[in-house]
Symmetry: C2
Subunit: 319 residues, 2 copies
């Protein structure tokens, strides 16, 4: 197929997939699972009646369950697509209803906290395998989901010590078939890596948008009007789902504070360079940072096309 | 025309445009001036022989001059498209060669420093009118320029006290015909507005990319691999021209340090919220920042399409 997802599978990888939560990620998993025939049956649940209704209208799943407990009944793959802060409560709710041998996974941006919640609530006899597809947009809700969201993105699995290698392989296969590349690491290392590549970037984006909104010397209308100079890109990041991000910061406190400490230390040094008029120091830093971007483009995680958040047709017309 | 630039003018606005510097902005002005027939003749100069050669190959100008002094000879509009730090030297060089009544302008991201350099070096009898088109991409050089760069972007003019209103009107007309919206404000206010909407965002983007590159606990390869979580967008901003940005920070020191102080103060408060587990405080901030983005989309400075720096065809295919 032209969209890079490839042909549907000849035989499904799981009999019955239960998706708990139908936001951007849950809806995208539903779409790719359906399109690629990754599973025999998709049953979805969401705590919001409105979301369940929209999911039914969109035809996201084969059936919609009224509760997470009902959804997991008989499922051999359960993926919790809820904010990290809700994982414990959902794990507790579904625990008595899980099929023996089922794989229970999630998509949260924090992994140590999820591993702890799984260890606390899930019964023996199921495979608790936390996972994190590193993909997303700044949009939320079931309509925001799309089948190719995970294409050429990384999905990080953080199996706990003693996890069944066969179960890990089956979950890897699921994500690979969904278009992702799979990487396995410890939950603790995951939380450190994501703190610098995702959590702190979101934090400082939220922060500068907040700073700009509160100035007395520059009006909000001016901030909006002249945002094309760079600020605009931060507002996109700072438009992400507030509940999800609140939970990320509450549940990855230590790694975020550690990386934020580094960031602030470096920013203080940079501030001093500006104050002292250290032309060479500034130039060296601004040159060095280009190498990382070249690496990202080379890895296919970004295109080289100039963007700055602009994508109307006319702007892409080069003459 | 489909690209939003409209038909060429019936009569040119200026006889002879001298462009000093053929980077992204200079080359884009050349392209739009040619396409829209904004001027009778375009003469361009660049201190780099290599750039002059590429500009000739690209057909950017009607003629290429070997020096800025030679280029301004007879020009009724001179636009300096050089880094802010080079403005003084160029102004000094061209001063004895300027035609009486010529408008001398620039495109720098800092305006007080340019106004001071113009006041110091330019002779009486020419119209010194600093300007700043708030547009760009992270790419540099003559090849990066394109005719529609300024479409639906703002160009800020900061005429000094006592500037000739007719000259201001003529320069406004030029930028309007190039596709931009024109706003007039004082140089000091410009520098404050841009400090928050452009300079500090670039500074923190450069800073976090530097922080990530220097970690011992997370490898550079991991930073690159898992950059889709938000970091990637910062690397685009941090790939901008090092010389240009060094000069911005050296020449807008006070406003940048003031805004950076605000940013750091707010970041400290946010850090404390995380440390204290202040769920409501985090949620409130993350919700409030969405309003600014809605304003930017409503103003046409950004589209609502989800992006996060991803633009391959397959990723845009929603099913």
């Amino acid at each position: 197929m032209a969209d890079g997802l490839g042909a549907p599978l000849a035989a499904p990888l799981f009999e019955r997939l239960a998706l708990i939560g139908l936001g951007l990620i849950g809806a995208s998993i539903a779409r790719v699972a359906k399109r690629k025939r990754l599973v025999g049956h998709i049953v979805a649940a969401d705590s919001s009646e409105e979301v369940r209704k929209r999911a039914a209208e969109l035809g996201l799943a084969d059936s919609i369950a009224k509760s997470a407990a009902a959804a997991v009944d008989g499922a051999d793959l359960v993926i919790l697509c809820v904010p990290v802060g809700a994982i414990g409560a959902v794990a507790e709710e579904i625990a008595p209803h899980l099929r023996k041998g089922a794989i229970v996974s999630d998509v949260g941006s924090v992994k140590s906290a999820v591993a702890a919640a799984f260890a606390k609530y899930l019964p023996a006899g199921v495979h608790a395998l936390p996972a994190h597809p590193v993909a997303g947009t700044e949009q939320s809700g079931p309509e925001a989901g799309f089948a190719t969201l995970f294409c050429n993105r990384w999905c990080i699995l953080t199996p706990p010590d003693g996890a069944d290698p066969k179960a890990v392989a089956r979950l890897s296969e699921f994500w690979t078939a969904a278009g992702a590349n799979v990487e396995i690491m410890s939950a603790a290392h995951h939380d450190l890596v994501l703190a610098i590549t995702s959590h702190v970037p979101h934090l400082i984006a939220y922060n500068i948008v907040g700073t700009a909104a509160d100035l007395e010397t520059v009006t909000r209308s001016e901030v909006i009007k002249f945002s094309a100079g760079g600020f605009r890109d931060f507002t996109r990041i700072a438009a992400s789902d507030p509940t999800m991000w609140r939970d990320v910061f509450l549940n990855n406190k230590e790694a975020v504070l550690e990386m934020l400490g580094r960031f602030s230390e470096d920013l203080t040094a940079l501030q001093r360079m500006i104050r002292n008029g250290d032309a060479q120091g500034l130039f060296d830093l601004f040159t060095r940072t280009r190498a990382i971007r070249r690496g990202i483009i080379a890895e296919g995680q970004e295109t080289a096309a100039p963007d700055f958040g602009r994508r109307t047709g006319e702007e892409q017309d080069r003459s």
